[in-house]
Amino acid sequence: MSRLALLLLLLAVALAFALSLALPWPPIAALLEQDRPLALALLWELRLPRALLALAYGAMLGASGAAIQGLFANPLASPDLTGTTSGAALGAVVTAYILGFSAPLALALGAVGGALGALLLLLALAGRRAETATLLLAGLAISALAGALTTLALALAPSPFAFYDAYEWLMGSLVDRSTEQAAFAALPALAAILLLLRLASPLDSLTLGEEVAQSFGYDVRRLRIEIVCLTAFGVGACVAICGAIGFVGLVAPIFARRLTGGHPGRAIAPAALIGGLLLLAADLVVRSAPLGRTLPIGVVTALLGAPFFLWLVAHMRWRLER
């Protein structure tokens, strides 16, 4: 990737982050004149966690999407299509029923456990170098199973409040999270992204197949385990705080590989930046939509991402039939 592209991408992310803090501007402007400490508190305690969560969650989805796509050698693999996010959601909902939504550590552990379970099941079902069909079928089956179990858990909710809490959380939201909660998602995400970045070279060499990567001296089995664990850890922590948000992990790596000449490993860094940018942008759409109420951000990413996914499937079919 050229330095210019990287610089432009960084600038775009910084701009989106700044806009995320500043918009909508009138209430802040008014408060800055009347009550400066309150205005700063609003920025620090309401808008910063939200912007930070959007950036961290988006970056985590982008990086893990790039790593999973590289690992499976398949552009259709992503945390949501492989059942990772729905597994994490199930794990978190079940934990929440037992301990409540106010125990972030337990929630995160539940979500990481669910994500890990889903990814391991996927590896067992779809195999190492998954064909598109087996990967999608296995991902679909795991998502459906986790979705059904989550619905079952909702149906068995101990109280209407518990049901409402869980339902709202499941749709994915960045609103009203505290600075501590934001840090709770952002720090594991940052750690996971940094650790995933180390795997760029072995993932690039997987382009030549598992055997060649092994002849280079890369331990492909360990690579697989590292990617599964890091993805589950980072995505799980974010899902625990913000609920499930789809399609960013699918879309970001596809754009990122255009910047890296197709290299799957080198795409992890730009995919993280593009993922953060996409989620910050989606959150700006959520805030400025003139609907009189806040849309769940998961709905927005799905509304924008699903058509892209359909285009991708059509494009792949076109390439196969060519």
Binding site: A73, S201, D204, S205, L206, T207, L208, G209, E211, V212, Q214, S215, F216, G217, Y218, R257, G261, G262, H263, P264
Partner: protein, 254 residues
């Protein structure tokens, strides 16, 4: 003096029995044998792919002890598959194994200059083969381990590749090449290794291995009048072997 390659008790469970193998200095060794005889498995064991047992030393060093950068100077492995998972540009594929100057040199040697920026999914299978061969040759490793490199190549490029391998050997590299074309192997190899059921059953100069009864037994073919014929059809026709055009079939060029 350190031997170029020593393998002791190299084995892959269920695919390759314990095999001992040595290459004193630079040599072109061709591995021949029927499908499933263990050629690929031997190459895997030498390249340390798939957790093989036994010990392999190249230039006295164990590949396992080296990091990726050093290992690429020690050995190159070309798989029989011509798949490339992502649509990289041809030059970027070659670069995965080597530095800039080496990449350019290898691209030039395989006449890939005009494809350099073309995506590999838009190349023919033969062109993609050349890209992958360039990738394997580029870092100029001590030992080349090539699995059916001439498959998919046109006759001219088959010969040019074998000549390139001879040059590499003259320059001090060792090469071990699995292939099915017995005549091409015999013409260029210093040594022919015949494999059957995951073991080495004959190893020596091409003329002696090619003319051996063991080769006839392993492949079920015999050379009569300069052409290979299945033993079964020779038995039917009384050993004349001049009926290739009438159902006997000619073996040798794949």
């Amino acid at each position: 003096m350190t031997e170029l390659l020593t393998a002791e008790q190299a084995a892959l469970p269920g695919r390759l029995g314990p095999v001992d193998f040595r290459m004193g200095g630079p040599e072109l060794v061709c591995l021949v044998g029927p499908n499933g005889s263990g050629k690929t498995s031997l190459l895997h064991a030498l390249a340390r792919i798939g957790a093989p047992s036994g010990e392999v030393r190249i230039d006295g060093r164990r590949p396992e002890d080296l990091g990726p950068a050093e290992r690429r100077r020690l050995l190159s492995y070309l798989p029989a598959s011509r798949d490339i998972a992502w649509p990289l540009a041809a030059a970027d594929v070659v670069r995965l194994g080597a530095g800039e100057a080496e990449t350019l040199e290898a691209m030039e040697a395989l006449e890939l200059d005009r494809f350099a920026r073309r995506r590999v999914d838009r190349l023919s299978t033969g062109e993609r083969s050349r890209v992958l061969i360039a990738r394997a040759l580029a870092p100029r490793p001590r030992l080349l381990l090539l699995d059916e490199p001439v498959a998919n190549l046109d006759p001219l490029w088959q010969l040019r590749l074998m000549e390139m391998l001879r040059l590499a050997v003259a320059g001090g590299q060792g090469a071990m090449v699995a292939m099915h074309d017995l005549d091409l192997a015999a013409r260029y190899a210093d040594r022919l290794v015949l494999m059957e059921n995951g073991g080495i059953v004959a190893d020596g100069e091409p003329v002696s291995v090619l003319g051996s009864e063991r080769l006839e037994a392993v492949f079920g073919i015999r050379k009569v009048g300069g052409e290979w014929h299945p033993l079964a059809s020779l038995a039917r026709s009384g050993g004349e072997g001049n009926h290739a055009k009438h159902g006997g079939g000619v073996i040798g060029t794949t």
